[in-house]
């Protein structure tokens, strides 16, 4: 395996030394560019109480290009599709090399608190979120209970 860029080493060390509350990101034993992530559902959101697993991968030219991040735990959210792919600008055209694993995961946690059905990735979820928000929130809570608790 090629030597790991110093930036990745430093980020990893800092993630371990000063973990972000509510977020854990641990590099895989056999691939230091692949992180096992757990994000807790934010308070006062339909995802509260849930533990969401994600995978995060740092591509070769990181930090010049964004990490690849995907939810592994099923989640009912207008900006996350059934494959766990996330619609978030900083993971695409708004990526900046000054962002880090830490800030990316905080942004994803913030996205759980602030769903944006006007920029949907999961169209059926976004549609329901717009026409019947309370039912959508009920679904989100139910999915959180079913997929993101006690496993």
């Amino acid at each position: 395996m090629a030597a790991l860029p110093r930036r990745i080493i430093k980020e990893t060390q800092r993630l371990m030394q000063e973990p972000v509350p509510g977020i854990s990101a641990v590099p895989d034993d056999s691939n230091a560019r692949y992180f096992h992530v757990i994000v807790t559902g934010p308070e006062d959101s339909p995802f509260e109480g849930g533990l969401f697993k994600l995978e995060l991968f740092l591509p070769e030219d990181y930090p010049m290009s964004a990490p690849k991040v995907r939810f592994i735990t099923k989640i009912y959210h207008p900006n996350i599709d059934r494959l766990g792919r996330i619609c978030l600008d900083i993971l695409k055209d708004k990526w900046s090399p000054a962002l880090q694993i830490r800030t990316v995961l905080l942004s994803i946690q913030a996205l759980l608190s602030a769903p944006n059905p006007d920029d949907p990735l999961a169209n059926d979820v976004a549609e329901l979120w717009k026409v019947n928000e309370s039912e959508a929130i009920r679904n989100a809570k139910e999915w959180t209970r079913r997929y993101a608790m006690d496993n």
Binding site: P27, A32, F57, G84, S96
Partner: protein
């Protein structure tokens, strides 16, 4: 370097050296200040200037001529560490040799001393492979972009360091990562055959690889990282029926180092 605006005051020097670059997370090498005030390594600016053309911190546009005429906190000097009492690493540019920046030089030296055949470098946002047998630097995703490299006495005539001129000429910069333009008839991107003349390699002392290297040991650092790991390592969700949303080829590349999948 004649075109770069420099501030050689002591304060500016200390300022630059104490700043951690937000892109590489290391102390700034050749700190360059954008018009918005943010300071990064010159090569880090170059990396994101090539891509987004915006400041990595505030997204303010980077002037088009910034890489040609950077505002450096202090002039590029030759304070780099020399190896084995006088050797340095160089890459070939237009009409001459350029010294690598200090951090890249150390990585090259460490890898070379370990007896590696090749070494990977991330320079200004591009991944390069250095082949110590042919003494070439090739861009990983486009091996036709190549440069000769050499390990030679630090005192040889050179154009500058890491694309910043140290000799008096006023001309465009020629950075180690910037091989997007053909630079000379024999160094262009379509010139796949670079003659390897004997003068390219024997400048290194034969004892080079035997000398102990004192560089930071990445392996030790990695062991330190793994010892810092949280005790509970979450396993992947086995019930997940959906494959990751990436193409197969990309995925296999991402996971090539994983033992389980």
């Amino acid at each position: 370097m004649a075109e770069a605006i420099c501030d050689d005051s002591k304060e500016a020097k200390e300022k630059g050296e104490n700043i951690e670059c937000a892109v590489c997370l290391q102390p700034c090498i050749h700190p360059a200040q954008l018009p918005c005030g943010h300071i990064f390594c010159f090569l880090c600016v170059k990396g994101f200037a090539n891509q987004s053309k915006k400041c990595a911190m505030c997204r303010q546009e980077i002037p088009r001529d910034f890489i040609e005429q950077p505002h450096l906190l202090h002039a590029a000097t030759e304070e780099s560490t020399e190896f084995d009492g006088g050797y340095q690493w160089f890459y070939e540019g237009r009409n001459g040799w350029w010294q690598y920046d200090e951090r890249t030089s150390k990585e090259l030296e460490t890898s070379y001393k370990s007896g590696d055949k090749t070494c990977e470098l991330l320079i200004a946002g591009f991944l390069y492979i250095v082949d110590f047998e042919s003494m070439l630097q090739l861009r990983r995703n486009d091996p036709s972009r190549r440069r000769k490299i050499k390990r030679d006495f630090a005192t040889i005539p050179k154009k500058g360091i890491a694309g910043l001129r140290t000799e008096g000429e006023s001309s465009s910069t020629d950075s180690q990562g910037n091989d997007t333009r053909p630079e000379s008839p024999v160094d262009g991107r379509n010139d796949n055959i670079v003659p390897i003349t004997p003068s390219n390699t024997p400048q290194s002392p034969t004892s080079g690889r035997e000398s102990p290297h004192q560089e930071e040991d990445l392996q030790a650092t990695m062991e330190r990282i793994s010892s810092l790991r949280l005790s509970s390592s979450p396993s992947r969700n086995d019930n997940d029926e959906n494959p990751p949303g990436r193409s197969r080829s990309t995925r296999s590349r991402y996971h090539r180092h994983r033992s389980v999948d």
